[in-house]
Each structure stands twice: as C-alpha cells, then as structure tokens.
C-alpha cells in the first residue's frame, strides 16, 4: 500500500515500524542512551524506537527534545525515519538536524493503517509512504 504525505525532510528510509497512538516528548519521554520510551503510562513504555520507522501523532513537551533526539542519534539509538500525523517544531527540527527522513500529514491515518512490526518505507523526496510493499 502507498500513502501520499508531505515531506518534512528529504531522503529515504525503510525498516520495521513501531506505532504509538500517543504524543512523544524526546525530553524525559525517551532515554537517549538506549532509544527506549520511558514515560510512565505511555503506550510504547519500555519499547525501543532505535532503528525503527517511528509512527506517532505528534510531539509534545520541552523544546530541549531536539537535543535529546540528537544525543540518541549520535549514540546510534535514533529511529531510521519518522511519520507524524501532524509535525510540530520540536520533532521536525530533530529530524532536520539529524538528516532523518520524515513525512507528515499523510492522506490516510497512518496510525490506523500501520501496525508495529509492519515493513515500512518512507520516501521523503517524493512524499510517499509504502506499507508492507517489499
């Protein structure tokens, strides 16, 4: 399946999806030493976003999130790509400074269509998401 989306950054990424229905704060919400989501009560609590295609509604929390994301990236624990329902400034700039492919505002709701474990490709140059399309 193919979904059109708006590019936030450029480039392509592919890998296993990890999907959340909840907003993510990279500051406090994710451990930059492991990529594990650590916010109590979060639907990804205890799960790692490292090397995954991370699908979630939007960011939240501190603007220092872009530092925490950068730290995770430098230590090899960042996701390979990001799909947001609607990007906000902190997650967007996190993707921009690390060069991670990111798209948002897909034409169909990615949280309904993508399940954790699905194989997902992002083409941020063309603004396309491919689901289980190997």
């Amino acid at each position: 399946m193919e979904i059109k989306a708006k590019p936030v950054t450029s480039g392509t990424a592919e890998g296993e999806a990890i999907v959340s229905r909840m907003a993510i704060s990279f500051t406090g919400g994710m451990d930059p030493d492991t990529g594990i989501i650590r916010e109590p009560g979060h639907d990804l609590e205890g799960k790692s976003v490292a090397d995954k295609i991370l699908v979630f509604p939007t960011g939240k929390g501190s603007t220092t999130g872009s530092w925490q994301f950068y730290a995770a990236f430098k230590r090899g624990h960042a996701p390979r790509g990001i799909i947001n329902v609607k990007a906000e400034g902190v997650v967007a700039v996190s993707a921009i400074i690390t060069g991670i492919p990111m798209v948002h505002e897909p034409e169909k709701n990615p949280i309904e269509l993508i399940q954790s474990g699905d194989f997902v490709k992002i083409d941020a140059d063309k603004g396309l998401i491919y689901i289980n399309d190997q």
Binding site: S25, G28, T58, T63, K86, E88, G89, V90
Partner: protein, 338 residues
C-alpha cells in the same frame, strides 16, 4: 548550569563544572547574552505585541504567544540558535495570522476558581495538555483578573503533556478580547471541552510519583522563580526553620538572586535553611549530582518540574502547592495531597 558563587559550598562535582564551563565558553564566544534563564521575560527579554521571536523553552513560547501576543513557533532549541546566527526564522506556523485562530473551545466554568491556587491551574494544564494535544484551545470562564502566576502555571504545564504553541485565554490574551475574535469569527459548532474537579484531582495523582513520605529535597523554580514567588515563600515560612533532614532550594535567575541579596532575603532565608540557587532550573541539571548525593524523594510546586525530574533523572516526586511544599520542608515529610 550551576550557581558559580556556591560551587564549593554545594559540592558541585568537578565533571559537572568542567562540562558546564565548556558550554559557557562557547556561548560567550558567540556573543550570546548569558542570562541562564528558562523564563526570558523575567530577565529583561520582553517582546512587543506582534513581534516575531524565536524563543527556546516551550513554556516561554506559549507565554509569549498567549499573554504578550508576540509570535513564536513551538520550535526545537536549535531553531532559536540558528535564528540568532542568521537573523531570520522560517515564515510558517504561528508567525502567520491565519494560523493563530482558535481551534477548539474549552469551558472551565465548573471549577472553583475563587479557591484555586496556582498549583490547581498546573493540574488543569496537565489534564488539558493530554486531552488537547497540539490544537489551539480557546479558554472561556477563567477569572478575568487571574493572577500572572496562575496564568503561568496553566500555560507552562499545557506544553508538558501537550504541544500547544498558543492558547487563547478570552479576556486575557491580547488577540482574544472575545470568543469571536479568538476564532477569527468562525466559532466551531462542536460542544466545548469541559473540565470537572474530578479531572483536576486525578491530575494531581498522575503528576506525583513518590510513595515514601520522607522528603529529601523541596525544590522550587520550574520555571525559575519570580521575586513574587520568593516573597510568597518568605511569608509562608514566617521565620520557621527547615527540617534538618531536608534540603530546600529556590532556583531562580542571577538577577532575582541579586535582588534577594539587596533586599536581605538571601541571608535571612539561608539562616532558616533555604538556599537561593541561581542559573539553574528545578527540573534540570542539579538532579544529576543530587542523585549522586543521595537525594531520592523531592517535593516540588511545578507539574512540569515533576515530570522532568522523574522521567529524566529518576527522582520520586510529590507535587503540590507552594504552601504544601513549604510545610513539607518544615516537617521533613510530605504534607500535601496523596
């Protein structure tokens, strides 16, 4: 950061001083004004209505948009740094008037505003941030003479559990003298979001993470305390001394600390066991070395500080009003809601 004047007295570890010293030198070489404050308007950075600004700090951003009417996006910190270097910011989001219109109505009529403390508005912000996420809320039935500390409490917490850049507080926000103005004339047909006292009570339960009653540290200043908040502490303490087994810190900017010194509050508070700590916030760096020094359970009057101290540094936190936290510092055990 850490308080340079108290580094030895507070046993700030050398590794921390070295790392912060490097950051200090870099910022200085870039010509940055070194306020070390998370609370920009409190240290003299006051934009005009309609000014386009790039402010790091999600709390200050929403304050600038919603109280001053300056225009700032919810930018990651790197955007503000880049803006300072190039002197420009991308023209998108909340810099454009059409993107500043309200998106959903929030009616807080059911809350007992007459009896509300700033902590209650922080609990309200916590609850609504979670419910609203990234929309632009339009609040009605807030008290028209709402105190600035209560407004701050609400706005700074909305951006912890949510991603608001702007909240229209009708009658308070310059762009929202009326509901119609807040929505740019297009009031949504959908029913307003309402909040009950039970929602607020539940939020208190979610914000606190501690179980143990004994409190190692009472810490204020997320965002950094204003002079008014420090004077509140002085009034509540009324000359009483902090429990010997509990530390009490008030984090603020070096400007406010200087004022405290001039007014004799620094020494007076010190004699009661309260330390004014400059250049740090109650949710950031100090928890790194405080944990090494054995601090585990903290009491804090900031929901924002509670979230970050717990999730970033593993502190067990109690959240409550300034009065509850001060009483906790005196008895050494948690005196607020459980």
């Amino acid at each position: 950061m850490y308080d340079f004047d108290q580094a030895d007295d507070m046993n700030i570890p050398m590794y921390h001083r070295v790392r912060q010293g490097k950051i200090h030198d870099v910022l200085k070489s870039l010509g940055i004004v070194l306020t070390y404050s998370c609370h920009h308007y409190l240290v003299g950075n006051v934009p005009r209505f309609g000014d386009h600004i790039a402010w790091a700090s999600s709390g200050s951003q929403v304050f600038a948009n919603s109280v001053i009417g300056a225009r700032s996006n919810r930018d990651g910190d790197h955007v503000a740094l880049a803006a300072a270097i190039v002197g420009a910011i991308p023209e998108w989001g909340l810099h454009l008037e059409e993107n500043r219109k309200g998106e959903l109505l929030v009616d807080v009529n059911a809350l007992h505003h007459d009896a509300y403390d700033p902590a209650d508005y922080k609990a309200l912000g916590w609850h609504l941030g979670k419910r609203i996420g990234a929309g632009i809320p339009v609040f009605i039935n807030l008290p028209p003479h709402m105190h600035i500390e209560a407004i701050k409490g609400l706005l700074y917490t909305l951006t912890v559990t949510g991603a608001m850049g702007l909240a229209h507080l009708v009658g308070i926000t310059p762009e929202a003298p009326t509901i119609e103005a807040a929505f740019l004339g297009r009031i949504p047909q959908s029913p307003a979001i309402t909040v009950s006292q039970k929602d607020i009570d539940n939020a208190y339960g979610e914000i606190s993470s501690a179980k143990e009653e004994k409190v190692d540290l009472v810490i204020f200043g997320c965002p950094q305390c204003s002079m008014q908040e420090i004077q509140d502490v002085v009034r509540i303490l009324n000359g009483r001394k902090v429990h010997p087994g509990t530390q009490f810190w008030i984090c603020t900017s070096s400007w406010v600390k200087l004022l405290c010194e001039r007014m004799g509050l620094l020494d007076m508070l010190r004699s009661l066991g309260v330390r004014i700590v400059a250049d740090v916030g109650a949710a950031d760096g100090p928890h790194l070395y405080l944990r090494e020094q054995g601090v585990r359970v903290i009491a804090i009057n900031s929901a924002r500080g509670s979230y970050y101290a717990h999730n970033l540094f593993g502190m067990e936190t109690w959240f409550g009003s300034t009065r509850e936290c001060v009483e906790t510092a005196l008895s050494g055990k948690w005196e607020g809601k459980k």
